[in-house]
């Protein structure tokens, strides 16, 4: 058992790609994510098309700038202006925007009355309301799940190169091999991520939304889940593991609201979304950021735990069948 674990860590030194991925790229992405989430980006711009530019309305969600000609639709799509407002001869304002009707109406109100409707929240305000910590952890969740599978590559590789057969014919058995892999994946997933986050906080004074201790626990939860998932997917699939995981993870993370909160009237779709483990995790993260306690989320925590156990159970049964068939 100890030898197996030692073997993993020694071999990783030979694999520069994985090393670079775990120790440089992953922390870098996380620092970037934190940096851009905390970075106060420029407010969305509204272009004003008109001659009387002395008395442009001001508000805390948009900046109004005078422009001389109507931007093209392609420039609007690139996000140059959130909206363009023009005034006709009867002092009536026309709003051209790609945003929703609510936004459009709010912007019109801004120009006619000089301020936005009091209960109006633009995209930026909605994002902020979701919580900085939730936004950062949403992105990190996706990274950790993809990364976990990338760090488990040695296991399918051992299978393909028949190293596993040699290991199994020694005194070690397949289960201690798997256990060593689990510990390895977990450590090399958790430590760099956590260190990167602490560095981001200490060096750049980034706003995280959580205390460091709380973050350690939250990261622990998702890392444990990601490890179980990585072992599961590496056992079930024979080839294209990275490709399949990236596809599945990106789609499920978007649907779980890791990047944007989602809501819909479609009951079936929402049931599916709510059952996704990332969604359950995001619920915990969001709740804890706004003062909740872990004990309030016993059901959610149990769900994640049960799902991880299910992944391990399937893994063990698949491995047991394959071993008895002599597939290795």
């Amino acid at each position: 058992m100890r030898n197996l674990l030692q073997n993993k860590f020694e071999r990783i030194l030979q694999k520069k790609a994985i090393l670079v991925l775990a120790l440089i790229i992953m922390p870098l992405m996380i620092v970037l994510a934190i940096f851009f989430s905390g970075h106060s980006s420029i407010k969305e711009q509204i272009g004003y098309l008109g001659t009387d530019i002395t008395n442009l309305p001001k508000c805390d969600q948009y900046t109004v700038v005078p422009i001389s000609e109507m931007p093209k639709l392609s420039q609007m799509a690139e996000g140059m202006y959130a909206a363009v407002v023009s005034k006709d001869n009867h002092n009536k304002y026309t709003v051209t925007t790609l945003k929703s009707d609510t936004d459009s109406a709010a912007i019109e109100t801004l120009f006619t009355t000089g301020q936005l409707p009091s209960n109006y929240k633009g995209d930026d305000a909605k994002r902020k309301e979701r919580g900085t910590g939730t936004n950062i952890l949403g992105f990190i969740t996706m990274l950790i799940i993809i990364q976990g599978v990338a760090l488990t590559t040695m296991y399918p590789e051992d299978r393909n190169l028949r190293t596993l057969r040699r290991i199994m014919s020694s005194s070690a058995n397949i289960y201690s091999y798997l256990f060593a892999q689990i510990i390895f994946t977990f450590i090399s997933l958790y430590l760099p991520t956590y260190v990167a986050i602490i560095l981001a906080k200490r060096c750049f004074g980034a706003e995280l939304g959580y205390s460091i201790d709380l973050l350690a626990v939250l990261l622990l939860i998702i890392t444990l889940f990601a490890t179980a998932f990585a072992i599961f997917i590496s056992t079930v699939l024979d080839r294209n593991i990275n490709l399949v995981t990236s596809g599945v993870t990106i789609i499920t993370c978007v649907l779980s609201g890791c990047f944007l909160s989602i809501s819909s009237d479609n009951v079936i779709l929402m049931t599916i979304c709510n059952a996704l483990p990332q969604k359950v995790y995001m619920d915990i993260v969001h709740g804890v950021e706004f003062g909740g306690h872990f004990s309030d989320y016993g059901g959610e925590l149990f769900y994640l735990f049960a799902l991880s156990m299910l992944f391990y159970t399937i893994t063990i049964s698949v491995v047991a069948t394959k071993t008895s068939k002599g597939a290795y």
Partner: protein, 248 residues
């Protein structure tokens, strides 16, 4: 003649890989549906809806990410390597070997995206510029050839699929991020905005929007030429770094 034979077998090899087929056909459609659904509250109906916007973005996204992975898979996947070794023994020049992988995956993705774009426009009814979607398809096609060369280049440099794939994703993600396909980067400040011009994805996105929304083709030719030059550079690096004897 030999070359065509290798291309044919490489192509058949790709067809035997369901994950590659799914990720080049169904995955983009699912991505469009999911992202369109998630962002629909942020968009109005006119002049373009969330689905119109996301379909252009997601097609560019999947070409930039998945096409390169497709090439590296068809080049150095575990099951292909043994075949490659046999070709290395045969009287085939090493450039033919590299080119066959690029050409076969290029043909494959051309077919996939050549069908996907009309499918989105005419069957799903997403706005891709009506009949102008052919110009968009042409642009994406040139881009996917570059991506194929790019993927092959990383295989030649790193000499294993797994390393090539994991390292390749870094520049690709940076290109995608700077291209503003996933998040609008217009508001991250002037510096980020200026840096973003080094990303080919940024230019592809700009040109696509111009073609689709403004019927403006003036960037198209220069972008296709630049992509051709970039592809040649990648091929050159492939030629310099590829050593078939390493298979043995």
């Amino acid at each position: 003649m030999n070359f065509l034979k290798i291309v044919k077998y490489d192509f058949i090899n790709i067809l035997h890989n369901p994950a590659l087929i799914i990720s080049n056909t169904i995955l983009p459609v699912v991505l469009i549906a999911v992202l369109g659904f998630v962002t629909q509250n942020n968009f109005g109906k006119e002049p373009l809806s969330a689905y119109d916007y996301q379909s252009v973005n997601m097609l560019i996204f999947s070409v930039s990410l998945i096409v390169a992975i497709t090439t590296s898979n068809s080049f150095m996947e575990e099951k292909v390597i043994r075949g490659n070794m046999r070709i290395a023994y045969a009287p085939v020049s090493k450039m033919e070997m590299v080119l066959s992988k690029i050409v076969s995956s290029y043909i494959f993705v051309s077919i996939c995206y050549g069908m996907l774009i009309p499918f989105c426009q005419y069957i799903l009814g997403v706005n891709m510029g009506g009949n102008r979607c052919l110009w968009f398809a042409l642009l994406l096609n040139a881009f996917s050839f570059f991506e194929c060369c790019f993927g092959a280049m990383f295989c030649c440099i790193f000499r294993s699929e797994e390393q090539a794939n994991s390292i390749m994703q870094i520049p690709l993600f940076i290109f995608i991020f700077l291209g503003g396909v996933l998040v609008s980067i217009h508001r991250l400040g002037k510096i980020v905005n200026e840096i973003s011009y080094i990303s080919p994805v940024k230019w592809i996105v700009r040109c696509s929007y111009q073609i689709i929304y403004d019927n403006d083709l003036h960037l198209l030719l220069s972008i296709i030429i630049s992509l051709a030059i970039l592809s040649l550079i990648c091929l050159l690096i492939c030629g310099l770094r590829f050593k078939p004897e390493e298979y043995i």
